[in-house]
């Protein structure tokens, strides 16, 4: 199979307007990937599937990853000559910058017809809050159907063009996206008022003083 750089070069010939970035995997597995701009993702996915040399007819794995905002400290070292004529001093200046977070969808593509692969492609959202829409690849590979629903459920990426985008594992009324790194678990998923001391104590922060029902202890109802 051709290398990922060659695939990228051919893709750029076919879609000159698309931004396709090569993402290096520093680990020993060295499974590098292509970061594809969301606007061209469906066309590029179709090209990858239908190209005769690649024929990536099988999307094995689709998954989400959450990358929260990160503060990165850059250290710049400069050498300053010593005014007294001694050896030059090295001075470290630290600057911090905020790397904005994003959500990422990763697809592992293989070819069953040509028995080759994987080609890993990634799509990234603009941020983690309001611009979380990505194009769905379910029309290209049906195997993304449940997996994209799962990503939507657990990470909150909205896949436009998905035929049936509903929560997969959590219940429909559930509000949050539990696989996000900043997700805070509730004290009790199935909280309901019962007259047991420990439960009531834990429930207190969830109740406003006015809304709290007056609990009867003992006596006949």
């Amino acid at each position: 199979m051709e290398t990922l750089e060659q695939i990228r070069a051919r893709l750029l010939l076919a879609y000159p307007a698309a931004q396709i970035t090569f993402v290096t995997n520093p680990g020993p597995a060295a499974e590098h990937s292509l970061l594809i701009e969301a606007t061209h993702a469906v066309e590029i996915a179709r090209w990858l599937r239908d190209d005769t040399a690649l024929h990536l007819d099988y999307c094995s794995n689709a998954t989400g990853v959450d990358w929260p905002d990160k503060t990165i400290t850059d250290v710049a070292t400069t050498t300053e000559p010593d005014p007294a004529g001694g050896p030059a001093k090295t001075v470290e200046t630290k600057t911090t910058r905020l790397q904005p977070g994003y959500l990422e969808a990763i697809y592992h593509l293989y070819s069953i017809a040509l028995k080759q692969g994987p080609v890993v492609i990634r799509l990234r959202t603009a941020n983690r809050t309001d611009a979380v829409t990505l194009p769905s690849l379910t029309p290209i590979w049906r195997s993304c159907d449940f997996q994209e629903r799962e990503i939507f459920d657990l990470y909150g990426i909205i896949f436009s063009g998905h035929p049936d985008l509903r929560r997969l594992l959590m219940w429909d009324e559930f509000k949050d996206h539990p696989m996000r790194k900043d997700y805070v678990e509730p004290d009790d998923y199935e909280w309901e008022p019962t007259a047991h001391g420990a439960v009531l104590e834990r429930a207190k922060p969830h109740q406003s003083a006015a809304a709290a029902p007056a609990l009867k202890t003992g006596g006949t109802p």
Binding site: G27, P28, A29, E31, I106, H108, K115, F146, M179
Partner: protein, 393 residues
């Protein structure tokens, strides 16, 4: 009008076509929605399907998941790499040895960890024994779904019991084996264990012959499974169906051959393929794969080398793979089982993802079931082979 008097065909007669009938007389037209599961015994756990019926025929079927969801992936991201190993047993609780191996394979790819030869052979032995357990149970459960109350299943469980007794004597647990480690295996089997396993494998074809004599040519079985729940190859590939279900549709894709992970390249075995993609072919795939597994096991016992079972450089405590990512996959008894891991250099995985074959093989369940009766849907679901611990994670 008496509805039982035969009359001339109305203008609303049945429209042709196998799935949708537009019938508007007083018997038809009202659709009935049945929620099957999550406590239905033939949904293999807590699987639920919302089936819409026209008479007894299915016109719509929507699977509902999540009744066994415990966010396995989040739990694994909050523990160490090794800490998740026992928990992977609980994914597919019939095949813990294969699931362990899939996870170990992914971590070994992530960390660039080598595995000694004896451990590779032991892994193949365990994985193939697991395949025997899974497939024989599946066939038993399939007959349960067909309505034979437990007899074939008990024959299968008799053999399964022998294999999981072996697992217990080796790993200490019958089903939750927790046997694989990154860079090898946890316990070395004694010569007595190997002799017992060899004897079991030698006798296994006799069980298969007995089983097949009882079941394969059975008239009810043939009537209920042939031509039911057809799945064609193109759709199956596009929907990511893997394992015996894919091969029953005639697609030659077995990761033991394609990826040749472990030492499978050195083994002589064949990949059985179906021709029709129906329930019967899916049943036959399991029977034939068990025969091939026996062949692999015989070769493995013959060639099992002496040596260490753990790579001396393998690190279990304080294991921190370098930053990077890896996707490891293998041919589990149910299909392609994959683990996708992202490391950021810390002791816990940054991202831990299970690619569950049981879940993804259900993608085309509706298409396979439409037009069949609800009793057939139960059999089709049984032939797909799901375990809810893996579907819901």
């Amino acid at each position: 009008m008496n509805p039982f008097t035969p009359s001339a065909p109305t203008p609303f007669a049945s429209a042709p076509g196998p799935t949708v009938r537009a019938v508007h007389d007083e018997f038809h037209g009202d659709l009935l929605e049945v929620s099957m599961g999550p406590q239905h015994p033939s949904t293999h756990g807590v699987f639920r399907m919302v089936a819409t019926l026209d008479g007894e025929q299915l016109v719509k079927l929507k699977p509902v998941f999540g009744y066994l969801h415990r966010n396995h992936e989040k739990i694994a991201e909050n523990t160490t790499y090794l800490g998740s190993m026992p928990y992977t047993d609980r994914l597919d609780y019939l095949c813990s040895m294969s699931t362990n191996w899939a996870y170990a394979l992914a971590v070994e790819r992530l960390a660039g960890q080598a595995v000694p030869e004896r451990a590779q052979y032991l892994r193949i032995i365990m994985a193939e024994l697991t395949r025997l357990v899974n497939h024989s149970c599946l066939v038993g459960f399939l007959f349960n779904d067909l309505g034979t109350s437990f007899t074939p299943l008990l024959y299968a469980f008799r053999e399964r019991e022998k294999i999981i007794d072996l697992f217990e004597s080796l790993s200490g647990s019958r089903m939750m084996c927790n046997y694989q480690r990154f860079g090898g295996c946890r316990v070395d089997p004694t010569p007595e264990w190997l002799a017992a396993a060899q004897q079991l494998v030698d006798n296994f074809p006799r069980f298969l012959d007995e089983y097949e004599r009882m079941l394969t040519g059975n008239e009810i079985m043939l009537a209920r499974t042939q031509g039911v729940g057809r799945l064609d190859a193109t759709h199956a590939i596009n929907a990511g169906i893997t394992g015996p279900v894919l091969r029953a549709s005639g697609v030659d894709y077995d990761l033991r051959k394609v990826d040749a992970y472990g030492f499978y390249a050195q083994f002589d075995f064949r990949v059985p393929l179906g021709a029709h993609g129906d329930t019967y072919d899916r049943y036959m795939m399991r029977i034939l794969e068990m025969r091939e597994s026996v062949k692999i096991l015989q070769q493995a016992f013959k060639r099992l080398p002496a040596g260490p079972i753990m790579d001396p450089k393998a690190k279990l405590r304080g294991f921190r793979p370098k930053a990077g990512e890896a996707y490891g996959r293998l041919e589990g008894p149910k299909g392609e089982l994959g683990f996708f891991l992202i490391s950021d250099g810390s002791p816990n995985p940054y991202r831990y993802r299970v690619r569950p074959p049981s879940l993804i093989n259900l993608t085309l369940l509706e298409e396979m079931c439409l037009g069949h009766t609800i009793a057939d849907a139960v059999v089709i679901l049984g032939s797909i082979d799901i375990v809810l611990g893996e579907v819901d994670r």
